[in-house]
Symmetry: C2
Subunit: 712 residues, 2 copies
């Protein structure tokens, strides 16, 4: 219809031509704008979060708007290396100018907790007061929206603003959460808002979903600086139906967003890659075994996490806890800050920890994780395998503690009423696990260099085992287990780290983790949360494995009456009564009560509007007027004059026969994005199957409660 309209217009005037071109280009223009603004939003969030994270530790007195790194840079101090520079004052320094002793430590500790509490409470209150939809990751909801469900206000401007501010605050509070899920949500809000500028997209839900898919890609693209990974994430995880046209648009949108963010350069460093790894060494064939093992452990940890988190979220929903969201956030924040501060690995931000774990120990690396008995004599000497010093063993213990703390706190954090993503915490859990295994392997190779498995590669003692690579693989394994991504995960990981060589290890770990996860518990975290919230989401990945027929699912059941309209024998009163008595969204129209052949389908909304309009416009329409869905030439001289509604009748409803297997029906619902289909037998109307019926049926067959499905 839109095309017909355009073609007509085109012949009218040059204005029409411009309109036609605008129509053709509006898609590209729209994703361009979405990409631009997503990039800008991500830049603001990154700058804000990094400044406020550093604010917990100290301040730059000369220019309070600078974060620690910028503060030290701005005065050209070259001694900045993870430590402090003189321009940056920690809180004890601000107040007492002293750095030693227990007092300053306690002051730092207190300031850390106080700031964290302030940020977290602000975030939670803002969400609670202004935009309840701004909480959580948003990905489950966006998946549901892209599958055709409509949640009013979920992608509105208030959600956008509050989610952005809340995200800065909750990241700065040091909670165990990431910003990718919320970034996807923010990007989708931007996509939704801009789509209203273009009538082609704003007025058509199906078209708007194309823009939202592209926006989701842009969201991941800016969260990780991974444009291709973003497109694949949108394709694999978020989008329900992804036509190829969307692929190109998403690609473009993700590219623009990543480019804008790179131009803003919020972290002030040269690398466009978030956790850039500088090593590029071959891995040994044998190492595949520990990599797959990491995948398996990752899958187990991920399943544990999903089950525990689901249990806790269900508890929150059903108990009184759900009524005190701000209090809950405060308690979790205090716990995270109090337990986390003493351990340096939980004190630093999660991104910094991941970066540290991915790195290789080089000459300049002063962390205790790199306390090896090595001497770097030559400047360009390769990094050889060496015995671990006491610092490494201490670091391992701290890392184990960090792993446990992060795992437990993330379980409680994800699902709280603040904006919170899951990628960075998952990556961090995996990176800790992987680094520990990696150090183990390295020491094994150092102590037994002549076992056959090491003999070839490690004989020279150089470039043999890289613990950082294990951290990378472990991170991929846990994230893969939690989200059940595969291809997009590997692409994101290697865009994130720049490690092109490590595709095979990453793939092996991702596959192993996914298989273990699928074996232990069926759903990824997002699908589990969709199920928990009862969103009407028809999973396009599950195969429908049952042998029921359409006749078993359709409404009404055998002993009930089907609510239908007839094409030329019902009065306005009859129709109005039917509208009052029932709550269906639409009604099939049949020839007559006696001969139930299907004519078409009419929506409740249209019917309501048409009757109201007719009553308003012409006085002659009364309750006794016939409602005609035909051309109605043969009932011309009737009184009162009939109400002709052929215009609002959908003459081409999708129909199936009662013998159609449900497998086919589910397939049609998924691929054609139907909301209902009519069931016929030899042309006679038997009943209706709505999406809700299908979802209930699927739940029933999976032995779950069919009434848990929400529907609007």
């Amino acid at each position: 219809m839109r095309h017909r309209y355009i073609v007509k217009k085109k012949h009218d005037s040059i204005w029409g031509l411009i309109k036609g071109a605008h129509d053709a280009w509006s898609g590209w223009l729209c994703v361009l704008l979405v990409g631009l603004f997503t990039g800008v939003a991500a830049g603001i969030i990154d700058i804000g979060a990094s400044w406020m994270t550093d604010l917990k530790f100290g301040i730059c007195p000369q220019a309070f708007w600078l974060n620690k790194e910028q503060c030290c840079w701005s005065y050209n101090e070259t001694t900045f290396d993870g430590g402090n520079c003189s321009q940056w004052w920690t809180w004890p320094e601000v107040f007492s100018q002293s750095k030693d002793g227990a007092g300053p430590y306690m002051i730092s500790y207190m300031f850390y907790i106080a700031w964290a509490l302030l940020f977290a409470s602000l975030s939670a209150s803002l969400v609670r007061m202004f935009a309840p939809y701004a909480c959580g990751s948003g990905i489950p909801e966006i998946k549901t929206i892209l599958s055709g469900f409509i949640i009013r206000g979920y992608l509105g401007k208030w959600t956008l603003i509050i989610k952005s501010v809340g995200l800065i605050l909750s990241v700065s509070a040091g909670l165990n959460l990431g910003k990718e899920g919320p970034m996807v949500h923010i990007a989708c809000c931007i996509g939704n808002i801009f789509s209203y500028l273009f009538p082609k997209y704003g007025r058509n839900e199906a078209k708007k979903r194309e823009i939202l898919s592209a926006a989701a890609a842009a969201g991941v693209s800016v969260a990780f600086g991974a444009p291709i990974g973003g497109v694949l994430f949108s394709l694999e995880e978020v989008s329900y139906y992804f036509p190829l046209k969307t692929l190109w648009r998403s690609f473009f949108c993700a590219l623009i967003a990543a480019f804008i963010l790179r131009s803003i350069n919020p972290f002030g460093n040269e690398h466009s890659v978030l956790f850039y790894v500088e090593y590029n060494k071959p891995w040994i064939f044998f190492e595949l075994i520990p990599f797959v093992m990491l995948g398996i452990i990752g899958g187990v940890i991920a399943t544990l996490f999903i089950k525990a988190n689901l249990f806790w979220c269900r508890y929150r929903k059903t108990s009184k806890l759900g009524q005190y969201p701000v209090t809950e956030v405060l308690i979790v924040t205090v716990a995270t800050a109090v337990i986390g501060y003493p351990n340096p690995y939980t004190r630093m931000s999660t991104s910094q920890l991941i970066y540290l774990l991915f790195r290789q120990c080089g000459v300049s690396n002063a962390d205790i994780l790199c306390d090896y008995n090595r001497n770097f004599t030559a400047v360009k000497s390769a990094i050889e395998v060496a015995a671990a010093g006491p610092g490494v063993y201490k670091a391992i213990w701290l890392l184990v503690l960090a792993l446990i703390l992060k795992l437990v706190m993330t379980i409680f954090t994800f699902g709280m009423k603040v904006p919170c993503g899951l990628f960075i915490p998952s990556l961090c859990l995996g990176a800790i696990m992987g680094r520990i295994v990696g150090i183990g392997m390295e020491q094994l190779a150092y102590n037994y260099p002549h076992i056959w498995i090491f003999s070839e590669a490690c004989s020279t003692g150089v470039d043999c085992i890289t613990p950082g690579l294990y951290a990378m693989v472990g991170a991929a394994a846990v994230l893969g287990g939690v989200t059940r991504m595969t291809v997009s995960l590997v692409v994101i990981m290697f865009e994130l780290t720049g490690g092109v060589r490590y595709i095979v290890p990453l793939m092996a770990a991702a596959m192993a983790s996914k298989w273990v996860g699928d074996a232990l518990g069926k759903q990824g975290i997002y699908d589990a949360h969709i199920g928990l919230n009862g969103y009407p989401f028809l999973d396009s990945k599950d195969e429908f494995q049952h042998t029921t027929l359409a006749a078993d699912v359709m409404q009404p059941k055998r002993n009930e009456a089907l609510h239908v309209l007839t094409q030329d024998s019902m009065t306005v009163e009859d129709v109005e009564n039917l509208l009052k008595e029932t709550e269906h969204n639409g009604f099939p129209v049949i020839v007559s009560k006696e001969s139930q052949y299907l004519v078409g389908f009419v929506l409740r909304r249209d019917l309501n509007l048409a009757i109201a309009n007719a009553k308003r416009m012409t006085e002659e329409i009364t309750g006794q007027s016939l409602v005609l869905f035909t051309n109605g030439n043969n009932i011309q001289n009737h009184s009162p004059p009939p109400l002709k509604l052929k215009k609002i009748l959908d003459m081409a409803p999708i129909t199936i026969t009662d013998q159609t297997p449900m497998e086919t029906v589910v397939d049609m619902f998924r691929k054609l994005g139907l909301r209902q289909t009519l069931v016929t037998h030899n042309g006679r109307l038997l009943g209706v199957i709505t999406k809700k019926d299908v979802l209930r049926h699927v739940k029933q067959l999976d032995n779950e409660d069919p009434n848990s499905v929400l529907f609007n």
Copy 2:
């Protein structure tokens, strides 16, 4: 049905359990085998082709089965650097032991041409004699097969063998062709053959296509060592319908294939990346302008190539030329070899040339392309911008000649009756173009270092402009223009080169090239060849932009009769007559001639079989027997006894109404993979729309000849 069968079986015995597990795992097992064998096949082809390519230049007398590189390595000569080592004898050395003068040059020249002719003629004859389907790239045909069309024998074992051997020969002959398209075809043959081992896949065409999609991914994966790129290529370019389950399987299959190939290590070098680039420098923001320009030029060259190639292929089809495929191959080979040998850039293999063009000029690079006025004093000095020496200018002229020659020869080569791919030639054209532009930019930056655009980045004169990067971007641009890939192209390029930093430049060039290509000529090379060959391919990318209704497209037209069966009033003779008179693949079944309500749909094949069977089994069925598609209890005592065919009746045909817009119909055909749909009005059967009708209708609306569509 399959599932119902399995569920039943499972309860029987442990054997049933094993069978169930086998059924569940057979998909993974099948793609594992496909990946394994694809890797092995690729290894054999790579080893064979590299040996035979070197055979054109000389031989290793001590061990004739070694290629030049291996020959030199096997005797630990360290002087091997693109030049000759003493163990490797060129042909003049073999015969006259002299290396200088015009004589040896002519001998080399002659040997080169003779070997090329021998290889090419062998390849063409093999294809002509044993497997005509083994010619060409195979990708257009595989796209068509994946869209539901069946070409018998196209993926058979003979095609596999001949295509592999022919590919080795035609690559070795030095023709302007690549091995990726054929590798995809070979992988699909392997996929097809292995799918017969698993009844789940062998007997179900739709399921088999899942395996073929995975195999296509493995084909690209081994051709380029790019597993993720392979999966995306399969998704974006090859596959028609790509469920997410297929994504994971394809991923696995591509991973296994790449891994096997890496283990075989046919090129004997350490890098798993084909054209590994060692530089990793940032690019300047300003450089985006030349990159986009490269994209535009790339799009123009690509369109030129597509149009010229299509014209030539059409000429070949319609003229006498098509009858002499071997002669044609020989003429093209002679032309390529005679013109190509004197120019060193066309003499070397296309892959070597690309590798050379992508590289940066370093200390050890002796090619004239690197004749800069630089002095490398310090060992670790960065590569600075320098004035080009005379060698560079000579190289540019040779490259321009090579560009023209390669463009012209590729136009004639692609479509010949030998296995030939298009990726490597396209990449090469683009790389030459890009390198020339890159050298131009470099000299501009050297001569005017203080223009504002260069001022910031080039002020130190180091790491300013990298001509190799321009070659990379140019290669992506031309390949993108030819195939119209976007995301998969960028992923392949950066898996191919390892250049993670260069995603944005590659993306920009690919988008520009695609837009230019789309503006100048609608189709990519594969779609153009599908159209040329008249395959029935319903493009899933095009939007159907017309407003016709199902009633306009359906058969029969108004004044013709529809061939139908009635459910209980036709005799066997009537049915047999109908079968004889018509050629339809199936017939709708209606209640009776008077009341044309649709009951179901029956396939011609089933009908033929059922009647033949019935006649063979029971003597009583005669021409006068009634054919019943009902349960038929009311006509029990009829004589002769009726033929009950309810079993073969499909009670759940997909139906639409006559008012359905063709946009929806085309959508249903695409997404549900239909072969026909029945058109009804108020339950009454009006007609049938087959896929052929849809294809014809689309062609007609595009003002093309609707009869050019093949159909089986």
